[in-house]
């Protein structure tokens, strides 16, 4: 177990190093400069040189690369050029709160609704309730999250005027983006729980519970759900990916001042250091979640051994 975790941690570091390196050199092969072209061309050659020097951009690329790596290890992600003067880690820290709020709400809503749909569908297998759940889950997986976000904005925000859109002032502003993101989560969870429950409901111990005369609710919640819930951990990884990619579009649509919209903005502005920092952040988040999911799964379900035993 320990050996396995150490091995995984080494891979994790290699992965992050590869990503950082690839992103760094990709960014530096970009056409254009990270500065506003109109403004920078008005400066004299000497001033231009000074601006570049202040961001360390006047040095050869490989020197910049090793400098950057060294800084990253000390937790310094550099300085943004789009938001001039601010440090990337500072911007990240400020932006992470709205993103986390929206993301966590989306996962919770998705989990609760998905669970209910999945349980009902399995319990009423092959009835209209079951088919309805299947339709919802197929749609939830197939409708792109930016389409969901756009339609929710149209109906709830513009047509019915129920909820605020496109600004970020109160808690109410976080409802629509969370709902838009939760759609895919609902679909994934409902589908997964339904399949798991169907298998579990055919086990002997369920028959046993019925024979003992337990109430259906008790059987479903105490016996069936408990055993179907475990494998949900395995799809946490793909749910995270869903939320991450979804946040890029959904945050831009609703003007959430989060990490997703920051990423989209900085991409359009060639802000090297912020893009690098964000890529690193996203990748680190992703690989850590996947590692945690694997470890958690092994800890919870003793039947699964991560590393093949030698005996």
């Amino acid at each position: 177990m320990q050996k396995y975790i150490i091995k995984r941690l080494v891979y994790l570091l290699i992965t992050l190093l590869v990503i950082t390196t690839a992103t760094f050199f990709l960014m530096h092969s970009l056409p254009g400069t990270p500065f506003d072209e109109d403004k920078i061309s008005k400066l004299s050659a000497e001033q231009q040189r000074q601006v570049y020097a202040s961001y360390g951009l006047d040095q050869p690329v490989y020197v910049q690369y090793f400098k950057y790596l060294g800084n990253v290890f000390q937790g310094d992600l550099g300085t943004s050029t789009l938001y001039s003067g601010q440090s990337v880690q500072g911007i990240l820290a400020a932006r992470i709160v709205p993103s986390a709020l929206v993301g966590i709400q989306a996962v919770l809503v998705g989990l609760v609704i998905g669970l209910i749909l999945g349980i009902v569908a399995a319990y009423r297998h092959n009835t209209s309730m079951d088919y309805l759940t299947m339709v919802i889950s197929v749609l939830g997986i197939s409708v792109p999250n930016f389409v969901v976000a756009a339609l929710l904005q149209y109906f709830f925000g513009l047509k019915w005027g129920l909820l605020p859109v496109a600004y970020w002032e109160s808690y109410a502003c976080s409802i629509l983006p969370s709902l838009a993101l939760s759609f895919g989560v609902i679909a994934q969870i409902a589908r997964f729980i339904r399949t798991e429950m169907l298998t579990v409901l055919q086990q002997d111990y369920i028959l046993m519970a019925k024979a003992k005369g337990l109430s259906p609710v008790k059987i479903l919640l105490r016996h069936a759900l408990r055993n179907s819930l475990l494998p949900v951990i395995t799809i946490l990884g793909s749910i995270t990916v869903n939320i991450l990619t979804g946040s890029l579009a959904v945050e831009s649509i609703y003007s959430v001042p989060g990490i997703g919209s920051l990423f989209v903005d900085t991409i359009k502005a060639n802000d090297y250091s912020t893009i690098l920092g964000l890529t690193l952040f996203y990748s680190a988040f992703y690989v850590v979640v996947i590692l945690l999911v694997d470890i958690l799964y092994c800890v919870i379900d003793p039947r699964i051994r991560l590393a093949p035993s030698k005996e």
Partner: protein
């Protein structure tokens, strides 16, 4: 119950020609034909397949049905609602939305198919080389995959899109660079499972060449996995393209793809909802149909489902 009296003369051995005994009574069916027959019994998959074929046909024929094309602007007819002249209305430059939608569908499908094919070629080659050579080569190739699998695909695609010039080719390349890993893993697992089975051993004992074993035994037996995975790759490629175009780093106007159309529809969502709705419905139809078809194929090719 009816009582039958059993007499000695009923017990005579049946007459049978020696040659008849070895005769195969049913025509032999390959795994592929078998799967196809079972797929046809699945109503959902058949409907999905028909809808997909209709969409593909419209993507190619939609242009022929109208005299308008996707790039001509007409400033005297901007933002029209669907009417007899413009079946899906017009956009903010007065371009015919019907022509643009089907052109966009064609571009999206093209990108998805080419990206899926590249995934398939790279993934199948990588996976089968890794599985067949085994040993050190396999473990090095697997370590590379383990690193790649930790990279969030979309981030890499976005970065590549920024560096390379915008266009269809770039989109395809960017998506293929990160997309093949899954296929490679599946094919490797499948071939590893197959290569130690008895029928491969039997083929080797009979002196079959390596090339023939790969072509005649291994690939036909992995084709189910490959086809199914492709069915899931295509919708995800369509999604990725639409997503990139939506956040503004995919294709650029006046080129159209479903993502570009949804993006420009979104900008006028308050007044012209249909500009967003029509391409959105088409993209959803494509993705739903591919995922139903994929599920159907998985059932059809699963030997445990055989009746």
């Amino acid at each position: 119950m009816q009582n039958i009296e059993l007499t000695e003369d009923l017990m005579a051995p049946a007459e049978m020609d020696e040659g008849d005994r070895e005769k195969i009574s049913r025509p032999t069916r390959s795994a592929f034909q078998d799967g196809w027959i079972r797929l046809k019994q699945n109503r959902g998959s058949v409907i999905a397949l028909v809808i997909l074929l209709v969409l593909v046909a419209l993507a190619f024929l939609g242009q022929v049905l109208t005299k308008n094309n996707y790039y001509d602007t007409n400033y005297s007819a901007i933002l029209q609602a669907p009417n007899a002249e413009h079946w899906f209305g017009t956009d903010k430059f007065g371009r015919d939305q019907w022509a643009r939608v089907w052109y966009g569908t064609r571009v999206s499908l093209l990108i998805a198919f080419v990206a899926a094919t590249l995934d398939l070629v790279v993934g199948v080659t990588y996976g089968s080389i890794s599985a067949l050579l085994g040993g050190k080569v396999d473990s090095v190739m697997q370590r590379i995959i383990e690193v790649l699998i930790g990279i969030p695909n979309l981030i890499i695609v976005i970065l590549l899109m920024m560096v390379m010039p915008a266009g269809i080719g770039t989109l395809i390349i960017a998506m293929s660079i990160s997309g093949w890993v899954n296929m490679a893993r599946l094919v490797r697992a499948e071939i590893l499972k197959l290569k130690d089975q008895e029928f491969i051993l039997a083929a080797r004992i009979l002196g079959t060449s390596n090339k023939r074993i790969i072509l005649k035994h291994l690939i036909p037996n992995t084709i189910g996995v490959i086809v199914i995975n492709t069915m899931f790759t295509i919708p995800s490629a369509i999604f990725t393209e639409a997503f990139l175009s939506f956040i503004g780093i995919g294709l650029q106007e006046p080129k159209a793809s479903l993502g570009v159309l949804i993006n420009s529809g979104f900008q006028v969502i308050n007044s012209q909802l249909y500009l967003l709705l029509i391409p959105a419905v088409i993209i959803v139809l494509i993705m739903v149909c591919f995922s139903i078809l994929g599920d159907g194929l998985r059932d059809a090719f699963d030997p445990r489902m055989r009746v």
